[in-house]
Amino acid sequence: MTSTAHASAHPSDAFGARLGMWLFLVTEILLFGGLFIAYSYMRARYPHEFHAGGKELNVFLGVLNTAVLLTSSLTMALAVARVRRGDGRAAAALTGATVLLGLCFLAIKAVEWSQKIGHGLYPGGPALLSLPLGERVFFGLYFTMTGLHGLHVLAGVSVLSVMGVLLLRGKSGPARPAVLENGGLYWHLVDVVWIYLLPLFYLAA
């Protein structure tokens, strides 16, 4: 056997693939964990400023985005259920829906960010510099954490797009459901992180 064939020597170990994905998710949680530690500490240090900062955010857009992302998790879960039942085409369609909802989330996020930036509420921005230190930290954390989360949504959208194409071409599909399952796990993680970000920033007021 050549070493290229060797590279895929254990493709059938779905349990191993899932284990690897879960371990990766652990690292993602800890990556955000560092930020959550920073958030908790800063919030304890500047409780009033964080309260005031939360009032500046658009709760409607935040909740709307939550609804979008939760729906996308639903379509994702349905896609995984479909692929397990052997229906690769429906799974591809549902994965496509997930991708679209993810893009929708990013679009709303972009609207929000540009509003804030338009008002000068960005690190080093004129409006933010007139605010007390604690609120500046609040917005620093807001942009860092939602920005990192946004990057993860973008990564998820890219990965799921590839998976959708693989499903359509029959290269992933019911024979190897672990591939789409792992994509789904990642997408749910992205969703879960947002569920924590929403109350910490938008509902903090």
Partner: protein, 542 residues
Amino acid sequence: MTTLARPLPHTLPSYLEDSPRRGIAAWLLSTDHKRVAMLYLFSMVSLFFVGVALGVLMRLEQLTMGRTLMSAQTYNALFTVHGVIMIFMFVVPGLPAVFGNFFLPILVGARDVAFPRLNLASWYFFIVGALLAVLSLFTGKGAPDTGWTFYVPFSLQSGTNVTLAVFAAFVMGWSSILTGINFITTIHRLRAPGMTWHRMPLFCWALYATSWIQILATPVLGITLILVILERFFGIGIFDPARGGDPILYQHLFWIYSHPAVYIMILPAMGAITEILPTFARRPIFGYRAIAYSSLSIAAFGSLVWAHHMFTSGMSAFGNLIFSFLTMVVAIPSAIKVFNWTATLYKGSIRFSPALLYAVSFIFLFCIGGLTGVMQGALAINQHVHDTYFIVGHFHYVMFGGTGFAFFAALLYWFPKMFGKTYNQKVAYLSWFPLFTGFNMLYFTMLVLGYMGQPRRYYDHLPQYHTGHLVATVGSWFLVAGLLLLFGNFVWALFRGEKAADNPWGGVTLEWKVPSPPPVENFEETPVVTGPPYAFEGEALP
């Protein structure tokens, strides 16, 4: 005893000969764990010698008082880059990425790691990070000068190329994480039939514990480094006190990774030593389970001691007390290992070899490093020696005397298996004398200098420290001579060495039951394991 169903055929070509690709692509695109290990070995040893050269230059600067060779700013850059290279590119990934990659699958009876392509990808993360770090020396406004710890607020204010160096460390962190994920999955899923947890060689246990630390600690460093970059570019105000941030928060987040990272560095080294000792003492390891579980408990307790780097940073007295206590607790599993190693040698029919010589030196040097570590865990002493050469001496005893010597011992032990060539034993013995002597001249002197009050990271020294600095600098020359002999011997063996036997040391773990060098698939057929890993009983001594 581990058994193979049939005697080994020597018909299969070795992994060095058998590749579907030609030339450089056979290496750069190969997902064979043994070839990936070789990529790591050669890139790391090269970087190690760059680090050594920087260290020697620093010692030369201290040869005389005042300016000898370089400005203070150059000296700052040297100790920063020396630290970044040695820690992130040699000591942290060293043993897992080289020997772990090469031997973990063989030791558990697998054909490869669980995710071979991911394994190759982690080398690319590593080498891109390494290249970025090297690039940071020559681009921007000069090499970073913050020390490898990148402490804020200085790392936010320094005009030097901190951003690129920090990003390099971030990229290399992902290499470490992916390797960790790969090893844990390999150990869980790919053990050969009959290879129960308690029949695994202890190097695998050590790698297992290490991988967990890599997974749990590295991401926190990753995000911390990203925050430094964001703070430098956008001023988000998390670490910078002028913007409402807190520099102590940085220190906590940094050490939450970087202290456990110390155990990423030392655990695989301990694992390698645990493989070497039984082979040359010709008896099973003493206290198998104690060693296995002490690896796990070092990983667990080691994650709870980070703030002992910050006793002088301004923490509450109660916090100091807790961290001081936990620091001393870590000494217990480490001592368990040391006693078990000694007990393994006791009444063994010891056959000396260069690998054993380096392994025993590891135990000696690690004890000095470990005990000086416990000293610093004591709050009163810590106040006195914080940020002195005592710290520098201590961590070189652990990192170089410990991990470095274990790396050399592992290379001496496994070299014939990895390359199928034999090095010159006499030269290998000979290299030990200057290396060991120079090492102690250099670093023991540092312990003394530090206790006398020489601060670390100064490019100059006062007259009362001059003799010590002189001894240390001369020691560094011996040390380099030893290193050149050691590695010169390896290079010679690669080209001129005689063909190695399949089992030159009479080892009993699985890697000694496959040809030297192993074939691509490691095993002709999957081995079946029927007993503990270190079974020498009843074996006729060769």
